[in-house]
């Protein structure tokens, strides 16, 4: 009897932990690995982004990995290291995201603070701003 209960408990725990893990795997890990695989493709002359990474040729395995896409993010052929448009837009994104966060905090804090005084029922019914 005890064993059965134990089994149920373990299955329940597995379910509770498994669903979010499955979710993460499906919608984060799988797309991430697809991107990772795409980012090292050698597109070749056909410009095929899904060109095979491993080729079997007469009993020989050959692995085609191309890391120049990563290098091209930080190296510009004309202006040199660290002078690319990509780094610039990364920094720009960082700046705008930080600014937006500060602005949201600045406007959001008074909102949240004064909402505290509004009765909970009111907030639940017509929480609108």
């Amino acid at each position: 009897m005890l064993g059965l209960e134990h089994l149920f408990l373990r299955r329940g725990r597995l379910m509770v932990l498994g669903v979010p893990w499955f979710w993460l795997l499906l919608f984060f890990a799988v797309p991430f690995f697809i991107l990772l695989r795409l980012s090292v493709t050698d597109m070749g002359e056909k410009l095929n982004p899904f060109a095979p990474l491993i080729e079997v040729n007469a009993g020989h395995f050959s692995l085609h990995l191309k890391f120049s896409h990563y290098v091209s993010l930080i190296l510009d052929p004309e202006s040199g290291w660290g002078q690319t448009l990509y780094i610039e837009s990364y920094l720009l994104s960082l700046r705008y995201a930080l600014l937006t966060t500060c602005l949201c905090l600045f406007f959001g804090y008074p909102f949240a603070y004064f909402w505290r005084a509004v009765p909970a029922m009111f907030v639940r019914c017509c929480c609108s701003w």
Partner: protein, 179 residues
């Protein structure tokens, strides 16, 4: 919750109408006599920031509110009884007590903002190129899928690694305090 009832895209377009050269705000300002000619607001960093702040404000308010409702009012009263000015009470009691809400809200706003694509491309100007637009351009204009993927991988790692480090630190802290 009301803003969530209308489409996100529609709300961003509404800002376009408000901020345009012949839009509501410019017309109002000219009517009152603040300016003689329309101020360029759309397609600049101002309109982008306005749009992003507007769209992401609920994500900041909700965690903050959830945190602030739990705040013990007696602490504020005690601080005031002991002679603290309202400002001092705010900075010494309210802000430190709601630190978890501030951090949660900031993370919820900062991360989606970093990769935001729609708002910068609708409201932003030609020179405000955020990384989401760069990835889009690489993918669909230059057809360079590997480089677009490399760009997004760098962005993902740039977000995930600091976040994981932060989570670990918080978990360690909780474990230490629990002991």
């Amino acid at each position: 919750m009301l803003p969530f009832w209308t489409s996100f895209l529609l709300r961003v377009y509404a800002w376009k109408g408000l901020l345009a050269d012949q839009g509501l705000i410019n017309n109002l300002m000219m009517m009152v006599g603040l300016t003689d000619e329309p101020v360029q607001m759309l397609y600049s960093d101002i309109s982008m920031l306005v749009g992003m702040t507007y769209v992401y404000l609920p994500f900041m308010v909700l965690p903050l509110y959830a945190n602030l409702v739990k705040l013990d009012v007696r602490l504020i009263e005690a601080a005031q009884d002991l002679g603290a000015t309202p400002w001092k009470t705010f900075w010494l009691i309210t802000v430190p007590m709601s630190r978890a809400g501030i951090v949660a809200g900031s993370i919820l706003v900062f991360i989606p903002c970093l990769g935001e694509f729609v708002i910068p491309s609708l409201l932003g100007g030609a020179e405000n190129i955020m990384i989401g637009r760069v990835v889009w351009d690489e993918m669909f204009s230059s057809n360079n899928w590997p480089r677009a993927s490399a760009l997004s991988i760098v962005l993902i790692l740039g977000v995930v690694i600091p976040l994981a480090w932060f989570n670990q630190r918080v978990a360690n802290k909780v474990a230490q305090e629990g002991r």
